[in-house]
Symmetry: C2
Subunit: 350 residues, 2 copies
């Protein structure tokens, strides 16, 4: 049914004529038309919560570039917002919560949200599916249990995760309670996205890489495994593959590959050839160009894309992406140069 | 001659009765007496440049805790300051340069500094040595060529290293020129510190871990190797061991261990037992407790210190430290609890 099913085939380890490519944060601030839509919406959160506008910005990068997938425009913090923490955005400061989780009684009173409070996400997802008309697959996503807990406890982004790590080392049982609630909420949310039409699932563990190895296993990987185990693998006749990405998780690739996910996102610090040797055929690899390469001139972008493709080597099992979200300072035409280079240069490896 | 030579013995892989411990940034903002000295000096840079006050703050943590080493109070940016870039500090924003390196002619006109412009560091170092009266060894230090280049090109700290990475991918020859100048300046500076009495040398590669594996090898490790190769290994009859620390370098431990350094600093994300298996007997390991553990209560600190010691296991070749500098928000008595726990619990492994 999909006109371009390269991404899904690659995630299922089926042959493809070239390496599919999409870009984390491909609908975002580097695109002038995105910034115009955000201005029309009033702010970032209003944009997320308006299915018409969310559909519009989801499709914007596909109108410019030959991307092999769309990813729903939304935010990983929709879940804690629906739990009642009061998400808001301050220009230039990132996300904040009005009511971060600090006191034991607040934590004990945390519950997975009423699905009704996340209906706007599913409405947007259905609308994007209709608008895409099966041109390319649509990826749904969520944050990891630990990453959501970081924001929920810190009350926003944090360079050192001081508050959540203090809880981790001093009151681990409280953090485990939050993670357990998050885990159930995320699993239900992702399954609802699959029911609404998401054709692949991505889980972003943005902050797991800030943990020690022991703490990563206990407080992040453990819960990632539970989410993956709870995901629907089929929707009707279609397989719905999933991708797990721990930024800064390069030390733990073998362990992440063992949790049952279909694909592993890797950041740009990892050599993708070395990663492939480490995980073998257990998972597909997604990544991993340094997003900063897109600041350079198109000839350098092409050369660096070639290096990633050559490092991965022959055969399938690779989804090209950046190793982190595209920067707002990226010239849009450089994204186009990357997508075209990947499509052209990757044919030699298939 | 040293009354407590545990650190030097450990770095030389000689038997010690316990695991020596010092703390990165042990003379720093978590100590009220440090903040008072900084207020007296006027600002951070004036504190660095005044040998009397630099000596005073270097000794402050040793008056409180049974640390096995002193590290000169100074800053890694003294070298680019002496090159004429105009270092200054804005409260709460970290270091800045008045004249960052942006234009090709500025880069082509960069030279290693006149040693006279760094005399204040050597004066402070000699004064600390006298004041220490051989109680514990004194560590001298510098930033890595790449880390200094990051600050010199960005003009300050940067979350994404956008400017220096744009140069790296678009004009690599310009970055190589800066790194070559830095390399020669750092080697001369560290050798001058050894001549002035530094008994061990630490090289901080704070930003190397932000690079892709290929770029790390070419733009950071390569120059670390040249610095290490140029270091004096003896001062009179005394061996002067060195420690190289790339924050976020856990993927590359084998390669860093191969550059000829005596010890490898590792950050808290790495399991120190796994690191030991990977590098074998080639280098001593320094690290690697998560600095955030020091926000927890002393019982938790003791338990987490025990886990690091147990993960490293029996025998010598371990210098205990945090996996990154101590946070300004750390209660001073928690550092004392850590130092005492390491001394007590490590005896079982020696």
């Amino acid at each position: 049914m999909l006109k371009n099913d390269t991404l899904i085939r690659a995630l299922k380890r089926e042959p493809t004529p070239y390496t599919p490519v999409w870009i984390m944060r491909q609908a975002g601030r580097y695109l002038p038309e995105y910034n115009q839509a955000r201005t029309r919406a009033g702010n970032f959160l209003a944009l997320c919560k308006n299915p018409d506008l969310a559909t519009e910005v989801t499709l914007q990068p596909l109108a410019r570039f030959a991307l092999d997938a769309a990813i729903l425009f939304s935010d990983i913090l929709t879940i804690p917002d629906a739990m009642g923490l009061g998400l808001y955005f301050v220009e230039g400061e990132g996300p904040k919560f009005e009511r971060p989780l600090r006191d034991e009684w607040e934590i004990r009173n945390l519950f997975a949200p009423d699905p009704e409070h996340l209906r706007y996400v599913l409405d947007a997802l259905k609308q994007v599916r209709r608008a895409l008309a099966n041109e390319v697959p649509l990826i749904g996503f969520a944050g990891s249990p630990f990453t959501l807990a970081c924001y929920m406890v810190e009350g926003g982004a944090s360079a050192d995760l001081r508050t959540v790590k203090t809880m981790l080392y001093s009151r681990p049982e409280l953090l485990h309670h939050i993670l357990d609630v998050n885990c159930r909420a995320i699993t239900a949310y992702l399954n609802a996205q699959i029911e609404a039409g998401a054709q692949a699932i991505m889980i972003f563990d943005t902050w797991g890489g800030m943990l020690s190895t022991d703490a990563y296993r206990e407080f992040s990987l453990n819960y990632l495994q539970r989410v993956v185990a709870g995901l629907k693998r089929k929707h009707g006749a279609e397989t719905v593959p999933n991708i797990v990405f721990t930024k800064g998780g390069g030390l733990w690739l073998e362990e992440i590959a063992a949790i049952g996910c279909d694909a592993l996102g890797i950041d740009w610090t990892v050599d993708i050839g070395a990663a492939r040797k480490r995980v073998g055929d257990r998972v597909v690899l997604q990544g991993n160009l340094d997003p900063a390469v897109l600041f350079a001139h198109p000839k350098a972008i092409r050369e660096q894309a070639r290096r990633v493709l050559a490092a991965f080597g022959d055969g399938g099992g690779h989804v090209f992406n950046l190793g982190h979200g595209v920067s707002q300072f990226t010239p849009p035409e450089h994204v186009g140069a990357l997508v075209d280079a990947v499509h052209e240069l990757s044919r030699a490896y298939h």
